[in-house]
């Protein structure tokens, strides 16, 4: 079983105060770990540390007992895939969807090699599985946000990783596509992938109902099962806003709402 463990993780950018300190985190195969928190607290930075892209100011990140820093980028990316946030700041991808997903084979290829016929057939199979074959020839930039997100997931799966990190996977999607992607993430976890994702929506963490961590503005970090962490009082503390976690009578499903009275009073 693959295990990603972060111990006493701290990070600060040059000449700035600490973004977070003393974070302990664990992820293993088959688990979904949601990270919640307001904007700017360092969720994406934390993901970068967990992916081995950023070197934490203090603390260690180990993958199956080996320090992540000691692994080469290729070794890391054969174990951990990263699905980036879809944002306008991202470098525009201009080549076709097919060429984009094929980049997922890069960790398995030597510096001067290109994807083989086997790599290509693997990519085609995954494109078909995710209903992307018909738009595979189209430019990545031209397809819908939902298709772009699916293509990023296909690329991640082509890496044949054990863990997948999602940075706000639903941030640019409509509700239907959000649900589709969340269901897909749950299915991936059920097939054995370890998943860590950041989200702004506590309801998504309630839907996925596995492990949850919160990172508050003051850098306070709290982890545990969803039922324990996703309470009205704790979420209100994290977001500095009165939030209610209520149980819907018809389905007994928990959901997080902003009370109308709070909304009216909000300046």
């Amino acid at each position: 079983m693959t295990q990603l463990i972060a111990t006493d993780l701290s990070f600060h950018y040059a000449d700035t105060q600490s973004l977070f300190t003393g974070i302990n985190f664990q992820l293993h195969s088959g688990q979904i770990h949601c990270i919640l928190g307001p904007n700017g607290v360092g969720k994406s930075t934390l993901l970068n540390c967990l992916a081995g892209v950023y070197r934490p100011t203090a603390g260690t990140v180990t993958l199956n007992g080996h320090s992540l820093r000691r692994l080469s980028p290729a070794q890391r990316s054969r174990k951990i895939a990263y699905v980036p946030q879809m944002s306008s700041e991202r470098t525009p991808v201009t080549f076709s969807l097919r060429d984009y997903v094929l980049l997922g084979r890069a960790p398995h290829l030597s510096l001067l090699a290109a994807p083989t016929a086997k790599d290509r057939s693997r990519a085609e199979a995954l494109l078909a599985r995710f209903n992307l074959s018909s738009c595979a020839q189209q430019s990545y930039a031209a397809v819908s946000g939902g298709q772009q997100q699916l293509a990023s997931i296909v690329r991640a799966l082509l890496q044949e990783p054990e863990l997948i990190i999602f940075d706000e996977p639903t941030s640019a999607l409509d509700v239907a596509n959000q649900v589709r992607v969340l269901k897909l993430i749950q299915k991936l976890a059920q097939t054995g992938y370890g998943i860590v994702l950041t989200t702004h929506d506590p309801n998504q963490a309630l839907l996925l109902n596995d492990q949850v961590s919160t990172l508050a503005q003051n850098g306070q970090w709290q982890s545990g099962p969803a039922a324990k962490i996703l309470t009205s009082s704790h979420l209100s503390d994290v977001y500095q806003l009165p939030l209610n976690v209520v149980t819907l009578p018809a389905t007994q499903q928990k959901t997080c709402i902003v009370d109308q009275t709070v909304f009216r009073r909000f300046s």
Partner: protein, 340 residues
């Protein structure tokens, strides 16, 4: 943006362009102030060991000492500039980047101007130009290092700074140059020409050009990975420092070697990669080799024009500017029409 399914496959494009290159090379051998017939050129190539008895001695001499080195140089330099332009545009995520981005061209021009003023001969000028080009890149990379930034934009800005500095150096050297002998020589060299290419100086530069070109061609698929942002490329296994370093070094060597042979020739490294991408799409694995062939054809055609348009030879830098500008505008318009 819907990418049209090309009418021809990539392989067909590549073979077709390769054949076109051979035809243009053959045609370029016959063009010039002293035209040679295709029959003469065919005889020359079909009987190389007998040194073509059916070909007149003057024709042989023109072919061997003037046309052949020049045609080979045009093809190699055109390909080198286009390949390095494609590579730079990919790794700097910027379609407006060209090979002289890091100050290579101006650095090489400053090196050459210095050698001219010091009275060096052709080989000395070439070595000095090469050193100037490499020194410029080293300075740009050092600025990036001192600014403690790993971003490609900082390197681009550093390149612009060094380029500006090298232009000032060239200006100073032109100011102190002897106006009768040295100044025309520096100016002519700055405008670019293949007039002084010989088999021996071509032979000096071809090994480095070939080596750097082959490395970049081998890296062509990897360029797609490096064209992503830093986070995505790293999480897909790229060793950015190493891989970008190799590509910058090879693209710089290609440009500096090309500038050594011909002086500064602008536009090819900017325009030709766009033409290749327009034809074959944004995949660098396919665009890079095609850009190389297109670059070779483009410079061969321009050089043939330069040799035949007037009694005196027109500097290549002038022709590339006059033809490259409208061509670039046309390519941008075409891209908009086709891809939007």
């Amino acid at each position: 943006m819907i990418l049209k399914k090309p009418r021809f496959s990539y392989r067909q494009f590549l073979i077709g362009s390769g054949l076109l290159l051979l035809i243009v090379m053959f045609g370029a051998l016959s063009v010039g102030r002293y035209p040679l017939s295709f029959t003469t050129i065919s005889h020359f190539f079909l009987h190389p060991l007998q040194l073509a008895p059916a070909v007149a001695a003057t024709d042989q001499q023109i072919l061997l000492e003037l046309r052949l080195p020049r045609i080979l140089a045009a093809a190699i330099i055109g390909a080198a500039l286009a390949i390095s332009g494609t590579a730079f545009q990919a790794i700097f995520h910027n379609p407006l980047v060209s090979p002289d981005l890091l100050g290579v061209s101006n650095g090489a021009a400053a090196g050459a101007a210095l050698a001219i003023i010091l009275g060096y001969q052709a080989a000395g000028i070439q070595i000095s130009a090469f050193a100037g080009g490499l020194l410029a890149v080293l300075a740009a990379v050092s600025i990036q290092h001192f600014l403690n930034s790993r971003g490609s934009l900082t390197l681009v800005l550093a390149g612009i700074i060094i380029s500006g500095f090298m232009q000032a150096v060239i200006g100073l050297l032109k100011y102190v140059a002897d106006p009768e002998q040295q100044l025309p020589s520096i100016t002519y060299w700055q405008l670019g020409s293949l007039e002084k290419v010989t088999l021996s100086n071509l032979g000096l530069n071809v090994p480095t050009l070939l080596l750097a070109g082959i490395v970049l061609l081998a890296f062509r698929w990897r360029l797609n990975l490096l064209s992503l942002n830093q986070l995505e490329a790293t999480t897909l296994g790229a060793n950015l420092k190493l891989e970008q370093g190799i590509i910058i070094l090879c693209a710089t060597v290609l440009t500096a070697s090309a500038v050594c042979l011909s002086g500064t020739i602008g536009w090819i490294g900017l325009v030709v990669p766009h033409a290749a991408r327009l034809v074959i799409g944004q995949n660098n694995a396919k665009a890079l080799p095609l850009a190389g062939i297109f670059g070779a054809i483009f410079l061969l055609l321009l050089d043939s024009l330069a040799r035949s348009l007037s009694a005196g030879e027109i500097p290549l830098g002038i022709l590339t500017g006059f033809i490259g500008t409208p061509l670039f505008v046309w390519l941008l318009l075409k891209k908009r029409v086709t891809f939007v």
